[in-house]
Amino acid sequence: MTDSSIRSFAQLVLLAAACCGTALAQQPIRIGASISQTGAFATLGQNQQRGYQLCVKQANEKGGVLGRKLELIVEDDQSQAATAVNIYEKLITQTKVDAILGPYSSPIGEDVANVSEKHRKPMLAPLSATTSIFKKGRKFVFMVLSPAEAYLEGLIDIAARRGLKTVAILSEDTIFPRATAQGTVELAKKRGLQVVFVEAYPKGTTDFGALLNRVRATNPDVIAAATYFDDAVSISRKLKELNINPKMFGVTVGGDLPKFHEALGATAEFIYGASQWEAELVTLRAGGLIPIARQYPGASEFVESYRKEYPGADLSYHSAGGYAGCQILLEAIKRAGSIDGEKVRAALLKLDYHTVFGAFKVDPDGFQLAHKMVLFQWQDGKKVIVWPEDLAPGTPRFPTPAWSERR
């Protein structure tokens, strides 16, 4: 081979490598997830999916990540954990996605976390709030929500500040509400409140008469109920029917939905509820003075573009949480400069980051430390944020008047 032919061959090889490199660079980063598009979790799962979709769309509009576009691959797990497990196995081993995002709910997240762990793929689990998922020694699952145990922190804080002394705590006897109840017991003890009643009721309970009569016998200042939607409504109705008059009554999941007030009407008034995020947060000012939007950067643009992209669709914390989970993943990939699972995991552990959903910072187990819950109270048919105190535009209507004294 002559010098010139060697040079030509080398140039050809370089050209081929460059072409090949360009082709590789142009391949999208593929992100896989299963979502409950049908089944029991469909409504909230779809909210989460819209969050994922909007995040990917907007990231692509800004040129993608690491110079590559993003592709979101979502499959329906029908609200079944076993189906979700199969989907993630397939996405990772057959479709060979570059990254994954978590499914909806704690029960499904719990099982899927085994898959991400096995394949060492970091997984943001933006709609799983059960602490135990993140405290089993797993290294590849990351929390976005505030944990179940913190849901009623605001209720207990207000009660303690207002000099209340006793609290009764009820919960559905399933993993998530039980964790909330346990957390509330600890919070109450820390704040010097006496826990006079703790009981879990079976899933599907519809008649709360006997249980609430036992609660009445302890005459608590506060009733804290770790609920889902149906039991939150039934317990509220029964408190009225039995004329039980705590100075504060709070629920957790379900109490934040508009249909809670629709179902209960005036009975919902004065009831406290916990929320991970509200669209209203972006307009609030601490002490009426300092805009807090900085703690939720981009949230008002998120709300605006979500409403534009999905006209009439439900916008809840599940939507914002999904969007935030995707934001965090992309930020970690950027900081890692790579889609390599180990490197992305290391970047996630170092992140101290604010998303549209609020703060993200995790401990070495991937357990969320920085995000804050809010507590609202139904006042005149509206959810008014009443805690944390410095952010709250409204003040609690306190104490809750007796049923007989309500107008």
């Binding site: 002490g287 009426g288 003075l289 300092i290 900085r294 410095d390 409204g394």
Partner: protein
């Protein structure tokens, strides 16, 4: 740390017994307090402090006192309408926060008692004759802004020793902030910094002023919320990584690096004592104006680290409110 309002407990408990003769507690209609602040929502810390203070004095919201709250969202001109509405509604007393609010209340009524907070120099503003003998229908708690301004500058310089230029941007109509600028000049010479005072009248001027800012400069935030200037400075400081000192520690809780001045909430708690005296029958003219008692140094160590400012030990030692 003990929250400022709880430090009052022993004293409050002592005078609470005296308040048993309050008319409202005897089953009469609740005493009606009209409120004017320049905030963007009803939860101004001074008002929250007032409510807490009254509660500690045995005056429960709803039962003994009720509040009619007007907040004017940084628009000083809107305070006049708020004051007129409260006078028309015949509230029993007007509680204000900030200079524009108390001036509007004074203009609207010479009859109803007015209790102010967050006014830097009430004599200079012309709302009382003297602090000891206010005269007229007005008394309150002064935030001592001009008096504390030199110290505020000194604390900023302690945190950022390389500092040469400090921007003091304030609403041109605010007497207190104008006086604060004058008071800072001696300290500025001593500290080797130049204070660039910029009075602004509207949002357009405010935007222009920020364009003059140079890397290495710092801000000293004004006391008045008119035109939303403190928030504009908060945002500009974050964008340009500029050291900024605010008047109250509430800002430090939300990212500002340092503050020096009276706690807003504590001023409300303090004012509750004056309000209670008036409810009890005292005349505002006989109730001396009080200086804010809780002067705090607030520090945000995370923000300091982001700005690359090592916090001197002497400043950390002085700080009563530290965000980590």
């Amino acid at each position: 740390m003990i929250e400022p309002q709880w430090r009052w407990r022993p004293f409050i408990a002592a005078i609470a017994t005296v308040l048993c003769a309050l008319p409202a507690a005897a089953g009469a209609a609740p005493y009606r307090i009209g409120v004017i602040t320049e905030a963007w929502a009803a939860n101004h810390p001074a008002l929250e402090g007032l409510k807490d203070g009254l509660r500690e004095l045995g005056l429960a919201e709803g039962r003994d006192v009720v509040f009619e709250v007007h907040f004017t969202k940084g628009k000083s001109e809107a305070t006049a309408a708020a004051a007129a509405a409260l006078v028309k509604a015949e509230v029993n007393l007007i509680f204000t926060s900030g200079e524009a609010a108390v001036l509007a209340a004074k203009k609207a009524t010479a009859r109803l008692p007015i209790v102010f907070t967050l006014v830097g120099d009430p004599v200079a503003v012309g709302i009382v004759n003297t602090l000891a003998y206010p005269g007229g229908n007005i008394t309150g708690v002064t935030s001592r802004v001009p008096e504390l301004a030199p110290k505020r500058l000194e604390i900023l310089k302690t945190l950022a020793p390389e500092l040469r230029r400090v921007w003091f941007i304030y609403y041109a109509g605010d007497v207190t902030d104008t006086a604060a600028l004058g008071n800072m000049q001696d300290a500025a010479r001593r500290l080797g910094v130049e204070v660039l005072g910029r009075p602004v009248n509207d949002a357009g001027q405010l935007t222009q002023v920020f364009k003059e800012f140079r890397r290495g400069d710092a801000y000293l935030a004004p006391s008045s919320d008119t035109l939303d200037i403190p928030v504009a400075i908060h945002e500009a400081a974050a964008a340009s990584h500029a050291p900024t000192i605010f008047q109250s520690a509430i800002w430090v809780s939300h990212g500002a690096v340092v503050s020096y001045g009276p706690d807003f909430r504590a001023q409300g708690v303090q004012a509750a004592r004056l309000v209670a005296k008036i409810i009890r029958g005292a005349k505002p003219q006989d109730v001396p104006v009080e200086g804010a008692e809780h002067i705090h140094v607030g520090l945000n160590l995370k923000s300091a680290s982001q700005l690359g400012l090592p916090v001197p030990a002497k400043l950390l030692f002085r700080a009563n409110i530290v965000q980590r």
